[in-house]
């Protein structure tokens, strides 16, 4: 079974703090994604990566950056957290030759005070 894990289930940070969210997948998948999920808005793509050290902006990249130094690990960075970044953050991965299914992690509920 594919397993996608995220470093924290719940996180509380203060405005202006630098925040790191980590995602690890164990299936040697090429593509990894970061989404945020807000009520009524669905999942919105922040960034994705199709290879190590490669990254592409999604629909809402402002205020975020990412890092993919190893194939299995994809990090989302909030350089200076703001209250409007309070959300559920979901990581996903797919095999580049089987893009039908995105496997999701359990999510990180981030609250910025």
């Amino acid at each position: 079974d594919v397993k996608v894990t995220q470093s924290s289930r719940y996180l509380v940070k203060r405005t202006g703090e630098k925040v790191f969210l980590e995602c690890v997948q164990d299936m040697d998948h090429e593509n990894m994604f970061w989404y945020r999920q807000d009520p009524g808005l669905g999942l919105r793509l922040i960034y994705f990566s199709y290879d190590v050290k490669m990254k592409e902006k999604g629909d809402i990249p402002e205020g975020y950056s990412v890092s993919r130094e190893k194939k299995e690990r994809f990090s989302l960075i909030l350089e200076s957290a703001s209250t409007n970044q309070t959300s559920m953050y979901l990581c996903a991965s797919t095999n580049s030759y089987s893009t039908d299914t995105q496997y999701f992690g359990p999510g990180t509920r981030l609250t910025v005070l």
Binding site: L43, R44, L45, F48, E56, D100, Q102, Y103, G107
Partner: protein
């Protein structure tokens, strides 16, 4: 603009009362239409992928269908454990595997 919408936003059913969830899409070059189930506080779990109009897939009490403009998730004789949010997503034919998600339908099945 590529978009995926879902209706209704929320649905309450009595146990055994069959119904359908709707997903409408305007995605250029649709590569596939996906359905996911999401339980509270958890990540989405894959259910189905549909590729072409007329295609149908089934899993237990769920059946997904696809037309050229929309997809339906039919729930037959639902049970309380079917309560969840159901997400629809469309994948675009681009260089990368970009997927557009709808806002979801929250289903509650009352015993």
């Amino acid at each position: 603009e590529d978009q995926v919408t879902q209706s209704p936003e929320a649905l309450r059913l009595q146990e055994g009362e069959s119904s359908s969830l709707n997903c409408s899409y305007t995605v250029s070059g649709l590569r596939g239409l996906f359905w996911y189930r999401q339980d509270p506080g958890k990540g989405p779990e894959f259910l189905f992928t549909l590729y072409s109009a007329g295609e149908e897939k089934e899993k237990e009490r769920l059946k997904a269908t696809l037309t050229k403009k929309e997809s339906f998730l039919h729930i037959t004789a639902p049970k309380p454990e079917d309560s969840a949010t159901y997400l629809c997503a469309g994948a675009m034919k681009t260089s990368y595997d970009k997927v557009i998600f709808g806002p979801g339908t929250s289903l509650s099945v009352i015993p």
